[in-house]
């Protein structure tokens, strides 16, 4: 018996979809998805992944819930202000779906911890709010051959792409070879963002993760999706593999994780 009666009922709207079915639902149940960041992007993504029946969800975040987070970080609530985001999130996800496993990692990922962490997972979602983590996660997923769904946002604009160089597609460095130099990065804490944009981008990220796990639809691995909430425009641009990519190109200069990915986040 792969599913309990209550699971069959819970996932019935999935199971009756020909493209998902019992087989697809079983893939979701067996999948292990790690979310880097339990904030604006991670909240909506995790909620929908939990609802969809992803069997194991990992949440990594070193922060605690702050009142200023609640404008967009819907996995948390007024009652959990001050608690680690991963614990607050875990409670919310298990309340939504007690049949899944949620692992909470109250830590900031770094070059020493990331590889052991992602080794337990099949798919990684990057919802981090800084360039250091974004390049670290890309490089780690490249070396560990993990599919990465990367979303980012700023003010009214979001970007989304799927990264799986182990299947012949480009990596994040094919798109942006290097992080901005220290001194060019503004204080991330003070960058404004439309709260609901986090929802849009996080849910699109969850949607691409589910498609990759079940193996349906078109992949976003050779495109970059750009969403402008003010103009209400979605655009896709081509994202080719860079033959000169320092990470996944034929003559790589990055052969291991850097010891330090820090990009100064103050100006």
């Amino acid at each position: 018996m792969q599913f309990t009666e209550s699971e069959i009922q819970r996932y019935s709207r999935h199971i009756i979809l020909q493209e998902v079915g019992g087989k697809g639902q079983l893939k979701l149940k067996r999948a292990k998805v790690l979310l880097i960041g339990a904030g604006g992007l991670g909240s909506p993504a995790a909620l929908y992944l939990a609802a969809a029946g992803i069997g194991t969800i990992g949440l990594v975040d070193g922060d605690v819930v702050d009142l200023s987070n609640l404008q967009r970080q819907i996995m948390h609530s007024t009652a959990t202000v001050g608690q680690p985001k991963v614990e607050s999130g875990k409670k919310t996800l298990l309340a939504l779906n007690p049949d899944i496993t949620v692992n909470a990692y109250h830590q900031v990922v770094n070059a020493d911890t990331i590889l052991p962490l992602i080794s337990h997972y099949d798919v990684v979602l990057d919802g981090s709010d800084n360039f250091s983590t974004r390049f670290l996660v890309n490089d780690a997923c490249f070396f560990a051959k993990k599919t990465l769904i990367s979303a980012s946002m700023f003010r009214f604009e979001g970007q989304l792409t799927t990264i799986k160089p182990h299947q012949g597609y480009p990596c994040y460095r094919c798109l942006y070879p290097e992080p901005p130099p220290a001194g060019l990065v503004p204080n991330c804490q003070e960058a404004g963002v439309l709260g609901v944009l986090a929802g849009t981008m996080g849910i699109l990220q969850a949607s691409e993760a589910i498609k990759e796990i079940i193996g349906i639809g078109e992949t976003l691995a050779d495109k970059l999706l750009i969403y402008d909430a003010l103009e209400m425009k979605f655009r896709k641009v081509a994202r080719p593999k860079d033959p000169a990519c320092p990470l996944c190109g034929p003559n790589p200069t990055i052969k291991d994780l850097w010891s330090d990915y820090t990009v100064t986040c103050t100006i």
Binding site: S128, D129, N130, F131, T133, R134, S152, M153, F154, R155, F156, E157, Q159, L175, Y176, P177, E178, P179, P180, L184, V185, P186, N187, C188, E190, A191, V193, L224, I226, D228, L230, E231, R235, K236, V237, A238, R239, P240, D242, C265, I267
Partner: protein, 95 residues
């Protein structure tokens, strides 16, 4: 005229316009003509040597100019150019 899509972080330089039109025969032209109309924008797009910064991509229609002819990529009327910086909870440029 070429339509240029301006990303959110650069809109303070374009009087908050998300799209502007400039005349240009190549990307290099376009950057210089943008600078003439919206002073300060070139320094955001290019480094001190005039090379495009590595955390900013420019697309002609849907193609990344790094995989075309870079700054020498030719433009013709009707082309749409998009400037797309890396973003990560913040923009790569100071506010």
């Amino acid at each position: 005229m070429i339509k240029v899509r301006i990303p959110t972080p650069l809109r303070p330089l374009t009087k908050n316009q998300g799209e502007v039109s400039v005349a240009a025969a190549s990307i290099e032209d376009l950057v210089n003509n943008l600078e003439a109309a919206y002073p300060g924008i070139k320094a955001r797009l290019c480094d001190d040597k005039g090379e495009l910064r590595r955390f900013v991509n420019i697309y002609v229609n849907e193609e990344d100019i790094r995989f075309l002819k870079g700054k020498d990529t030719a433009l013709k009327t009707g082309d749409e150019v998009s400037i797309v910086p890396a973003i990560a909870g913040g923009s790569p440029w100071p506010a």
